[in-house]
């Protein structure tokens, strides 16, 4: 890998993690990988600017000890990930080194200059061919498959292949390593040898599919506030901005556990290592309800936490999305969770500063917006050449400076995502979790998916959701008024609206992440619970006075609340449902 290009150079300048290199011999490619030779160590770097015979490189490691004159070897290859069976369940750093293999003499620290293969080269996989000799095949089409945990991992024709190739040879069913040649393809008279392992440059989207299609199906997260109120579609995008401590990471962890995707890729980008450690410890012990296997078997963790080198942090997000695109090519549903995209943006800012580029707002580079848009654009639902569908859904957190959403990263993200799940400091202070602000947040997908939602949940589903949102904002207005004029200042009708909105908030929007039952509500439960709740909302109760109204809702609230803590197949659930219906009827409502 280190000597695949003959280009060499030497260091002429060092500024933080940026080195300037004089090219002695050969040509240079923008974004190619090069290695700075420091004593016995090779430090991985990426060319980020070429200026005459000099180029600027960001070094993915600590640059202490680099000296002017040190030799640089260029690879001619862009920064790439290795894709093959064996990625699922791995914990990688931002450059796809398996952290488990980065043990060294005292084992505790990530020493620089150590790189490991992303997948085991010796392990064999049971390969079954899916094509025969003579078949015509395009980039990314399925040559065969191997079982990888619960999935059928498709072996893809080389992703960068241009044109239609002919299968010259295909291996028969059997055990192969990722380095064994399993097929030979002929393209324009040339033979291409195919192994299960291939490389793909992370900053280039994998587009070996027929077409992108409109996302119309729901990605279930089992979080009521998201699935019911602000749903995200498979192949859609969403952002979760919020001040520190508002619950972004806890929410991302919930999504990684409970979303019904085939593959979940968690990119821990520039945040705490401790949070990743919790996942690493929890996931192997947790069951994936869809497969019965462990949750880790469907997960890939990319971990480039805040004290790891900044340039590798910039790369980590691309590493994550590229692996997602790879699994999408197999017709799978992939969810990418990036926490936090602000740290990724800051990594770009640091580099831009060193390159002395003209800064934009808050010193972010002028290309911030296009980079953010470019990243989210890599999500999407696609139709493969064989008409199977695959999806990459991308949900990123944003950590706005001072908790103020008017800052560049939040604003640029809002321009491109389909759902905005904004966390509010006020709600998290009041311990209303998840602290997604129901009044400010939105999802464009609810209209886009209306048909499939109405079919799946209830013919009137999207209408009911819309009415509920209206009620929430009316309720909030009444609430605001009461803080000024007191309860005396509003009439019974208005108070009833307020109490209804509080009921929705307390018993439906809020969900206890740390309770075994309440932490996840599947869709059928959400349909049941929401429809029962909606009966309350749609009944025009006629209370004699405010005291009666308050009492009525206190009773209801308690029942709904308790119901959240019992499983739907528990007798207690139907008992509580019955009691709730009685209360509704006692207030003049009808149950059909």
């Amino acid at each position: 890998m280190i000597d695949s290009s003959s280009t060499t150079g030497h260091v002429v300048g060092i500024n933080g993690n940026m080195v300037t290199v004089q090219i002695d011999e050969g040509s240079v490619v923008q974004n190619e990988v090069a290695f700075v030779l420091v004593g016995e160590m090779n430090l991985k770097s990426e060319v980020i600017k070429v200026l005459g015979q000099q180029c600027y490189m960001q070094v993915f490691e600590d640059t202490t000890g680099i000296t002017v004159g040190m030799k640089v070897n260029f690879t001619g290859e862009m920064l790439a990930v290795g894709v093959a069976p064996g990625i699922l369940g791995e914990i990688y750093d931002g450059l796809q080194n398996p952290l488990e293999l980065l043990d060294n003499k005292d084992g505790f620290f990530l020493q620089r200059g150590q790189y490991q293969e992303p997948v085991n080269h010796e392990k064999t996989w049971e390969f079954t061919p899916l094509v025969k000799e003579g078949d015509k095949i395009r980039a990314g089409q399925w040559l065969g498959e191997v079982p990888e945990h619960h999935l059928s991992h498709k072996i893809l024709a080389p992703l960068g292949m241009l044109g239609v190739a002919k299968v010259k040879k295909i291996s028969s069913k059997g055990e192969y390593t990722v380095k064994d040649v399993i097929a030979e393809l002929e393209l324009e008279g040339k033979i291409i040898k195919v192994t299960m392992l291939q490389e793909w440059p992370v900053k280039k989207a994998i587009k070996a599919y027929k077409e992108r299609i409109f996302p119309e199906e729901l990605l279930t997260t089992k979080q009521r506030l998201i699935d019911t109120m602000f749903p995200v579609s498979r192949g859609g995008t969403a952002c979760i901005p919020g001040p520190f401590g508002a619950g972004k990471t806890v929410l991302q962890h919930l999504l990684s556990k409970f979303s019904n995707a085939d593959v979940v890729i968690v990119v821990a980008c520039g945040e705490r290592a401790g949070e990743v450690v919790e996942l690493i410890n929890e996931f192997p012990e947790m069951e994936d309800p869809q497969t019965g296997g462990s949750l880790m078997d469907r997960t890939i963790i990319i971990c480039n936490t805040s004290s790891m080198p900044v340039a590798a942090r910039e790369a980590s997000v691309y590493t994550g999305i590229t692996l997602a695109e790879y699994y999408r090519q197999m017709g799978l549903d992939v969810l990418v969770l990036a926490d936090s995209t602000s740290r990724w943006a800051q990594a770009m800012r640091e580099m831009s500063g060193r390159l002395e580029e003209i800064p934009g707002e808050e010193a972010f580079p002028a290309y911030l917006e296009s980079r953010i848009a470019g990243l989210y654009e890599r999500a999407g639902l696609v139709k493969l050449h064989n008409n199977e569908k695959g999806a990459v859904t991308l949900i990123g957190t944003v950590s706005p400076a001072g908790g103020n959403f008017e800052e560049p990263v939040t604003q640029a993200t809002l321009k491109v995502v389909g759902a905005f799940l904004g966390l509010s400091r006020k709600r998290s202070d009041e311990r209303k979790y998840p602290a997604i602000d129901p009044l400010d947040s939105y999802s464009l997908y609810i209209d886009q998916m209306a048909d499939s939602l109405n079919e799946q949940m209830d013919p009137d589903w999207t209408k009911m959701v819309k009415k509920t949102k209206e009620l929430l904002s009316t309720g909030a207005e009444v609430g605001k008024m009461m803080t000024v004029v007191g309860e005396e200042g509003v009439n019974v009708d208005d108070l009833t609206k307020y109490l209804k909105s509080e009921l929705v908030d307390f018993t439906y929007l809020q969900q206890n992440a740390f309770d075994d039952v309440d932490c996840a509500a599947d869709l059928s439960r959400q349909a049941k619970d929401f429809k029962l709740l909606y009966k309350v909302l749609s009944t025009p109760f006629d209370f004699d006075d405010k005291k009666e109204a308050r009492k009525f809702f206190t009773d209801l609230q308690d029942k709904f609340y308790q119901k959240n803590y019992v499983e739907t197949d528990n007798d207690k659930y139907s008992e509580l449902t019955g009691e709730i219906e009685e209360i509704i009827v006692s207030g003049g409502g009808k149950i059909v």
């Binding site: 000890g65 680099i66 952290l99 620290f109 990530l110 401790g274 004290s307 500063g353 400076a401």
Partner: protein, 434 residues
């Protein structure tokens, strides 16, 4: 072997620039001024033969013909068991009148991160005997947690108290821009409390050169890391990291970097994170817990220093008006110990007492706005007073279990069991008999 240069080209702020060869990035140099004063400097940028260094003791009074000698290695700190009980300056020179440590092992400061797979999930409760911490936002071994404070609050007293109470094998104090009196305060408390013989201090005072502040956290943490690997449970106290951030700002301005926010460099988050992330519970060795002070300029939590810190750390204790504010304070690791290591009723007491106190404050506000005082309000007002006196007052010094019992007693003095919103099975066990 060490090359010496006698021609400094530029002096800008506390940065010097000169022509030199064979110098490596972050290499240390010693500078001997014409009056014989020696100070350390570190390479922070190399462009061809032009080398920029930050001078730790500052460039004030520095001659452009001072001697610059490159030392061939980055900044190090001497490590030895014998550091315990000793006090050093911000650049690692003894300031307790005792001799240099002999046979110390030189270790690089600012070393690499711990491999996340070599960390264990934090699980040990650290009892501080301060109810606002122990009950409401317990401290967990290996946690990194700042005290967000308006200037002038007794944050250093709070730090000393925690250091005295917490059961740690080694305490390391990094003073950054400390007032001399504050330093003496720490030393006296540590001596009286009998923990000086397991303490190491690195003290940079407000009178010392600004750039030297940059070294203190790294030296303290490098030493802590070494003790941690040796199996010790280390508590690191850093006061005040806002002063550290201000030093970063000065260097960045002198280097003409484009600031991101209020003059702070765009790398502020990473710079703070690389220090805080040294907090760790090693798989198979000791641990490092970091408690730091972040003073909030103008009491503003959205100021870049507290704001970036809040994103990095595992919670924060808000100190204002002489008390730890229950709202805004957060221990992100609390769920790892509450009810698991601590008593089963801990979670219920914590939640109910906070909720009741929030309501009590609403009652207070309502009354101050001239609304009528109801019977209900009376209860809450009584509760608010008791809560402040028995829990919030920083002079209260009780064990967690006593504090929890006190919590039950206080709730029972003000409310009926039905009013506190606690599950029946827990109430049956703990609700005090009248």
């Amino acid at each position: 072997m060490f090359k010496e240069y006698t021609r400094i080209k530029n002096i800008i702020g506390d940065i010097i620039e000169l022509e030199a060869d064979g110098v490596s990035y972050r290499e240390l140099a010693s500078i001997t001024n014409t009056n014989g004063e020696v100070s350390l400097a570190q390479v922070i940028r190399i462009e061809g033969s032009k080398v920029s260094l930050q001078v730790f003791s500052g460039a004030k009074g520095l001659s452009n013909i001072a001697k610059v000698r490159f030392l061939g290695h980055p900044m190090r700190v001497g490590y030895s068991e014998n550091l315990l009980g000793r006090i050093f300056t911000g650049s690692g020179v003894p300031m307790d009148g005792k001799p240099e440590i002999e046979n110390a092992e030189d270790i690089n400061i600012g070393g690499p991160s711990v491999n996340p797979v070599k960390r264990v999930v934090p699980h040990n409760f650290i009892e501080t005997r301060i109810p606002m911490i122990d009950i409401f936002n317990p401290l967990v071994e290996s946690q990194k947690l700042p005290i967000f404070s308006t200037p002038g609050e007794p944050y250093n007293e709070l730090l000393s108290r925690i250091a005295l109470q917490a059961d740690a094998d080694v305490v390391i104090l990094g003073g950054i821009g400390l007032k001399f009196d504050e330093f003496i305060g720490f030393r006296r408390k540590f001596e009286e409390g009998g923990i000086m013989d397991r303490t190491v201090m690195f003290i940079h005072t407000a009178a010392d050169p600004v750039v030297e502040r940059l070294l203190v956290p790294d030296m303290a943490l490098a030493v802590a890391e070494k003790f941690g690997i040796e199996g010790k449970r280390v508590l690191v106290l850093l006061s005040d990291l806002t002063a550290f951030a201000d030093a970063l700002k000065e260097i960045s301005v002198a280097m003409e970097q484009v600031p991101s926010n209020l003059g702070y460099p765009g790398s502020l988050y990473s710079d703070l994170a690389s220090r805080y992330e040294k907090a760790v519970d090693f798989d198979g060795a000791g641990s490092i817990t970091i408690l730091a002070v972040t003073t909030m300029p103008g009491g503003d939590v959205t100021h870049p220093v507290p704001d970036n810190t809040g994103y990095i750390t595992e919670g924060q204790y808000y100190l204002n008006n002489g008390v730890i504010n229950p709202f805004g304070s957060l221990s992100r690791l609390k769920q790892l110990v509450i009810g698991k290591v601590t008593r089963k009723d801990h979670g219920a007491v914590m939640n109910s007492m906070i909720r009741l106190y929030a309501k009590a404050l609403e009652s207070k506000k309502k009354i101050s706005m001239g609304f009528e005082k109801t019977e209900e309000d009376e209860k809450f007002l009584k509760y608010a007073d008791l809560f402040q006196e028995r829990f919030m007052d920083l002079s209260v010094d009780v064990s967690l279990n006593d504090a929890l019992d006190m919590g039950w007693k206080t709730m029972a003095e003000c409310f009926s069991a039905k009013e506190v919103g606690i599950k029946k099975e827990i109430l049956d066990k703990h609700w005090p008999e009248k």
